[in-house]
Symmetry: C2
Subunit: 344 residues, 2 copies
């Protein structure tokens, strides 16, 4: 039996989740709800995704040659789960409508943690979402941090985490967002909200985060230091990362890659849809151990990193798969997730 | 019978031509020659393209797990045509080697026109390349200009062309090139070299070009004015463009698209490999007629625009297809070239 899924919103995240759902053999994409008849509506239409919009907007869609199947209420009637991929802070306003329709709900990290029963990451706390009424897939930066912290914490005594985040300022398509030529403290206060957000998944760990935004659209970059309550070798750290799903290594020595630009170029060369990178990409040469500290640098593709997590969230919330490793393996196989970039 | 093709260089242009050749049923990619064992060498290897390099470099490739088939001389022995996709001005230095091997040669627009018998564009002068010993596919900006000028000139009395070029400063992967925050006169003199370069294909027309480079990696943009020796309606201009291969329209009113960023986003959504755009994309709303002048704005994807032209150059130079329309149609079908962006 397949889970019937609706997606509300067909922007950066929604369209990627739609494509990912289409690749699962245990899910059916019943339709997408969209407010604006822009070029992304054409994308949905050209891919054959049934399009729903409000009664008021239907005329604008039809005028542009995009047929409309019905309203959000119509769509919600015929699904088990709705994935909310509306812009940050908009999702909460739909909660009551989803609730009335009696469907399970998956929200994104732009919403407050209180929007859902569980803040979710597939590697860290899949079990907590099993059978829940609603989950929130944490944001891109938080997902990147939670994956790497939880990978190390499962095997090592991690006492504290200090993460220094260099955020991309806008997504590639966002022509109205800056800065063009500045580093912006985003936010100026320390810790940034990411530390609290990580705790919504991992509980009360010792973590401090700070973040600046820079003029790039490609990926976030995290410089991280972990302090341990034990000694560890560099090779052991590498082994742990290699054993953890959705963490991939890249070697600057082997490949010459020292930038997010070249990582994206590899994704393009690989034929990844939209050049998407689902993995935390950790530079092998950056992994270093000094005393009881581990240091490393990773890149996080803000447009794609939460896509596999949303797929797993569907399986957890509907209880169709209770073993996180099985869900993650299934998702990763369908998306072509790898363990190394630019390596034979 | 299939034409056997070698590619020298596997960077921005070479790797795209390699993929395009793999999609033709009348060509075989025998191998690629590459100097540096970087991440693009891994790309070639992972796609199963036989890799050739110099005797001195072979060890470096093997050390990184990339098997080498032989030298450039070995490769040239077993092909009919070599496509030179080495960096600008490097191609000429290989000319003698190609000549000695007795293979037909296709160079790129970074070389001087004197490198080859014919400067080539499939829509404008396919016939001149039939059976030639060597051709040069003109550069990205020149290709974009030649296509649109030749489209209009075939149907209208075009008396002069004035083209104002806003160049992308670097390709997405080029992390060493600037500017980051400046408009650069590139070059300060008028006309820029593009005017002369257009004439290598179209002959002695009245054309002036000027160019500035701006901090973007996505696409070039051309603002163009054509002066005619006759009256024309706007609809007639649109009809001509719609009848010409490799020219696609986008409507800002219908799609909301007003930038190169959103064009690239559509290419990503379409599943285009590497988000490539092979078409001249002309904004429908920009097409305007006043008196005896036509004005318009088009975007040109510098990484991809010459790829279909190289495929046609192979057919012309080897005489396996003498009708330009048939070659262009075949190439365009294989690459999924369209006539409109973001339209049902």
């Amino acid at each position: 039996m397949s889970v019937r899924v609706a997606i509300n919103g067909f922007g950066t995240i929604g369209k990627r989740i739609a494509d990912a759902i289409s690749k699962q053999n245990d899910m059916i994409l019943v339709g997408v709800f969209k407010n604006r008849p822009n070029y992304e509506a054409y994308t949905a239409y050209s891919k054959g995704y049934p399009i729903y919009t409000s009664r008021e907007r239907a005329g604008e869609f039809e005028k542009r040659g995009i047929p409309v199947k019905g309203t959000l209420e119509d769509l919600l009637k015929s699904v088990d789960v709705v994935i909310d991929a509306t812009p940050s802070k908009v999702g909460e306003s739909y909660r009551e409508i989803y609730g009335k329709a009696g469907v399970k709900m998956i929200f994104q990290g732009g919403e407050k943690a209180s929007v859902a029963d569980v803040s979710f990451n597939a590697i860290a706390n899949y079990e907590k979402a099993i059978g829940a009424r609603s989950v929130r897939v944490v944001s891109c930066n938080t997902t990147g941090l939670v994956r790497i912290i939880s990978a190390l914490s499962k095997s090592l005594k991690v006492e504290s985490v200090r993460a220094y985040i260099v955020r991309r300022a806008a997504d590639p398509k966002e022509i109205g967002r800056g800065p063009i030529n500045s580093v912006v403290l985003d936010p100026p206060k320390i810790p940034s909200h990411h530390a609290e957000d990580v705790k919504t998944v991992l509980g009360d760990i010792d973590i401090v985060t700070m973040a600046v935004a820079v003029p790039t659209t490609l990926m976030h970059t995290h410089m991280i230091t972990f302090r341990l309550g034990e000694k560890v070798t560099r090779q052991r750290v590498i082994d742990i990362l290699m054993e953890t799903p959705r963490i991939a290594l890249v070697s600057s020595e082997q490949s010459g890659i020292t930038s997010t630009a070249e990582l994206v170029e590899v994704a393009r060369d690989m034929g990844r849809p939209r050049s998407d990178i689902y993995e935390n990409v950790v530079w092998e040469e950056s992994i270093s151990v000094s005393g009881n500290e581990i240091h490393m640098i990773q890149a996080i593709h803000q447009e794609a990193i939460v896509v596999p997590e949303n797929i797993d969230a569907v399986r957890a919330i509907t209880s169709i798969e209770k073993d996180w490793r099985k869900s993650v393996a299934k998702t990763d196989y369908s998306l072509g997730v790898v363990k190394a970039f630019a390596k034979p």
